[in-house]
Symmetry: C2
Subunit: 442 residues, 2 copies
């Protein structure tokens, strides 16, 4: 007997919600990203799900009995103003809730007029929403999974050995700072810091950074913990992943390059990391998977703890990601944001499952809500570089904006916008929630 | 008019509690470290203060009206089973509570017989206590503030340039992992991980670490936050520090040395960090302060944001710290733990206030309960090296235990014990809470 997909989850299913079938919004029935938001009428943040031009208020759904068919612990989790309790319930609960929401919103599900009315009452216009942090993030780890980024940055600082010997074996990562993670739209203060002395016997400088950069990244949200001392095997790593979002790991290159030896980046990074308010669940990404990236040669084949057939087959994410910039002068002249680069996440050298398996291979415990970032995502060609460090060759080859302004690094007033989407034949387009930030002087 | 110290806070004041005047316990009226503990009679963890052989149960003090003279928010904070709410109230509240506790416990304060009886009823024998985490730790940062450690480790790996050019200017630090911070006494599982291939063209190994090490450190607990974007000036940095404790940042040297380029230590560290259950408040450390360490030459003078007169005068901690080891065989033969090293924290190149000022100099926000560790504390001579990496020259010169066993690095069954104390003429001795951990196989 062939298994049959539920009608509301088929790639052809449509929603009756306004805008749900508009590919420019990228919020069809098959997407359903999560957020925490506050509407004008409400004085409390609620969990929500994006659909077309609207947000389905999960708190209201729970309160008005729309979720009476599903287990009570899921309903309780929907009333909490952060995703952590829902995450903690595990993949089966995530699937149950998603399927219930799809049934409520689908044109192909017969809905009683009463249920339809209550669902409509739980919908809020997305434009009127004010967002807050979707997840309490206990720990933040940033990886370095783009080999093109690692190689191009390495070329700038170590032309004789751009790629270090460990790169092809170890998913390189380091711990980031959770306290300075901010929501898209929060303005970013130009940090001050030490930079390398001009002459080796001089004192270093201390001033606002002159090489402020963005980093185009994907954030991976951990939905399931593991106990300290118990690694997550690669075969089960995917089930620990709840969802993804766009992330900008702002970097001060002068501070970073002076401080990072021998213990890695610190103040060059921890002044701010921006995240999108929207988290796209992993279950929405099925049509946008691609094989793990090939290894450079047979000796670079990954160690067994990083290898499993399903991950090699479809572990990467076939998502297009873009960086846009709009300067103050462009805004004044109503010039639209200019695209600085475009890259596909499928070029990442390490898959999300490999990052999880590696992170826990020493017994390190991941916690519900932990954020793992991919590191700057760059592609093989120059136009797909995910940061200015690469695009301008460390500021030596500035880029030109439509106004004629040039940029080696970011100047005050610049707004950086990260966008991303998934396209696959026979499937509706999904668009990831944007991640924005504008630089202001310290 | 001369200012007069409160009789209960003078260096000669004594407590009536059993053991309080015993210098071998190091818990006089002038110390009063905090902990969170559970007594046999209680089914809930309570905040406590160490005095002699006892713990004063602050929850019971609050419940029985002993704190009725002090502001209600302090009393409420005393009923919470972690220090964070008390920390959040700020230095004035910390001083009020400390002085009230000293008045209850001092022989020089006239106490009504009813108050004395209630205070006695709030005392628990320390030996019967089970400890839990004293603080919820939102973020953990590990520094590298011992120049002797940096230089000796540098000598092992870069004999031509042991001290990197940034060291004398930048208080080097990196973010650690909070999820794997464990309490003293928790056994430590030997982590598995990748290590450098034997030949450059071979595959790396993946196995339990063969170079498991301890690191003798002090943990500094942040009691006051700063908003994102607002640095803490060096002049006010001390007021953000609540207290200190012993900390062991376990390290797998083979994993660390293979993974750490270019983003710093990760899996070589994040499998476990042990902390003492006891936090010694900064206010107890007045007699044990010492000047900031001298700079190596005039060009290494610190930048202005790291300099202030009071910190230069008395910013360091004059505390003696020791590492002991006891092997399984030593335990079987009832041989006492052997001291591996002894060091004075006053040799640290950066003061706690400098670490705080530097950490926030880019606008990074510290949160209440954040843990900043000093990094391995080593002194100028070999016998004061704070880790086996230095003591055994990366395992090449093993040390010999009293049983005749040799140790290049830790073996399963080894227990490492960190101890520390402060001694100053005319002041009672204080002993920091121990930090222990025993290695077991993975």
């Amino acid at each position: 007997m062939m298994s049959q997909a539920h009608p509301s989850t088929s790639p052809h299913a449509e929603s009756w919600v306004f805008g749900a079938n508009n590919p420019d919004l990228g919020l069809p029935l098959q997407h359903l990203p999560y957020c925490v938001f506050q509407s004008i009428d409400s004085n409390q943040p609620h969990l929500g799900v994006g659909i077309g031009a609207c947000i389905l208020d999960l708190f209201v759904c729970a309160e008005t009995g729309l979720f009476d068919h599903i287990p009570a612990d899921i309903v309780t989790a929907c009333s909490f103003p952060a995703l952590n309790p829902l995450m903690d319930l595990g993949p089966k609960a995530w699937a149950t809730l998603r399927s219930e929401i799809q049934a409520l919103l689908s044109t192909s599900t017969p809905l009683s007029s009463d249920r339809r009315l209550r669902t409509e009452a739980a919908l809020v216009t997305a434009r009127e929403a004010i967002f807050s942090a979707p997840v309490f993030i206990p720990n933040y780890t940033d990886f370095y999974s783009s080999i093109d980024h690692a190689e191009r940055v390495g070329m700038l600082f170590r032309p004789d050995q751009p790629l270090l010997p460990n790169y092809q074996h170890v998913p390189i990562g380091y711990h980031g700072r959770t306290s300075s993670i901010v929501l898209s739209g929060t303005s970013i203060q130009r940090p001050k810091g030490q930079s390398k002395p001009v002459r080796s016997e001089a004192q270093p400088g201390f001033a606002p950074t002159t090489s402020l950069d963005y980093e185009l990244e994907l954030g991976l949200y951990i939905g399931q913990s593991n106990p300290l001392g118990t690694p997550i095997p690669i075969e089960r790593a995917s089930s620990h992943l709840f969802g993804i979002s766009l992330l900008n790991d702002w970097s001060a290159r002068d501070i970073q390059s002076w401080e990072y030896q021998p213990l890695g980046p610190f103040l060059g990074k921890n002044f701010a990391t921006s995240i999108s308010p929207w988290i796209t669940p992993i279950s929405a990404l099925g049509p946008f998977r691609s094989p793990a990236a090939p290894r450079l040669h047979h000796l670079a084949e990954s160690l067994p703890y990083l290898l499993c057939r399903s991950d090699q087959h479809a572990g990467n994410l076939n998502l297009i990601l873009e960086v846009f910039l709009v300067s103050l002068e462009m805004k004044k002249k109503s010039i639209a944001p200019v695209r600085l680069s475009r890259v596909c996440a499928r070029d990442l050298y390490w898959t999300p499952a490999q990052l999880i398996a590696h992170h826990t291979s020493n017994g390190c415990n991941l916690q519900v809500g932990d954020l793992l970032a991919t590191g700057t995502i760059s592609g093989p060609d120059h136009a797909s570089a995910g940061c200015l460090l690469e695009l301008t060759s460390n500021g030596t080859q500035p880029i030109t904006l439509p106004t004629g302004e040039s940029r080696a690094f970011l100047v005050d007033g610049d707004e950086v916008i990260l966008r991303g989407y998934g396209e696959a034949s026979g499937h509706p387009r999904i668009i990831l929630g944007e991640c924005r930030g504008t630089i202001h002087s310290g």
